[in-house]
Symmetry: C2
């Protein structure tokens, strides 16, 4: 099965211009062309594009993704480097999840804060509560917010 840039873009849910841009930047060295110069994406290319998508979601730059693709094109000599890179990105994603979990805790505190404000009619009620009056789960969050 072969796809034009528009068809592959639709399958991936991205704009055709994005795929052309990636190609121009050297991220798609595996894509072949028709005799007339039109890009012909194979099914295997879809998998490459999914890997690119995955690495993008880890926060990796296109430049570094390009390096990974280049390594992959090199063949089996680069397996070790690729493994190392994947493990590094895995750790990076774990760190991002931890970070977002902290952000989530802060938002849960703020939700409680505004729910309490709503019930009492004013933010001064939750704002002026002592630490002891706060639900225990929000104490550390408030201390951090206030720099204590």
């Amino acid at each position: 099965m072969l796809y034009t840039v528009g068809e592959m873009a639709k399958r991936l849910g991205v704009a055709p211009s994005t795929l052309r841009y990636y190609d121009k930047e050297g991220l798609l060295p595996f894509v072949e062309r028709s005799s007339g110069g039109i890009r012909m994406f194979k099914d295997a290319d879809f998998e490459w594009l999914q890997v690119i998508e995955c690495l993008k979601k880890t926060g990796m730059s296109l430049t570094n993704i390009k390096h990974f693709i280049e390594m992959s094109m090199q063949g089996d000599d680069t397996i070790d480097e690729r493994l190392t890179l994947i493990i590094k990105q895995k750790e990076a994603v774990k760190a991002q999840i931890d970070d977002l979990s902290k952000t989530l805790k802060t938002l849960e505190f703020k939700e409680w804060y505004y729910k309490t404000a709503k019930e009492t009619g004013t933010t001064s009620v939750p704002r002026n509560m002592t630490l002891g009056e706060l639900p225990e789960e929000y104490r550390e969050v408030r201390k951090a917010l206030r720099g204590e």
Copy 2:
């Protein structure tokens, strides 16, 4: 306790120019000035800046953060809107965590893939395995990557 822009920036771990930029964009209407025009940050302002940081981490744009700050300056009439916004951001962060968890699963598959390639000396071994030969936990991930 009062802080200059440089002192507050250091406390937050950001560049002074960032705080000046936020101020210029209207995100810091609460910051007061000395008679000579120098910004004097209060301890309460540190808390505002932490809230701005938190909202930034949720992926909210500075424009929308500005709206939230403006609502907060409005006073108790906007409690309900602020609560709604916080809940929306909470859901957004949960979705981001779910997304990253999927990305993590894909990276774990890739880690297994390259470890297997390393052991056998070639990526063709993990690549050509049938679904049944794969560890069960990676089957769905590989199907998704290949678009099956």
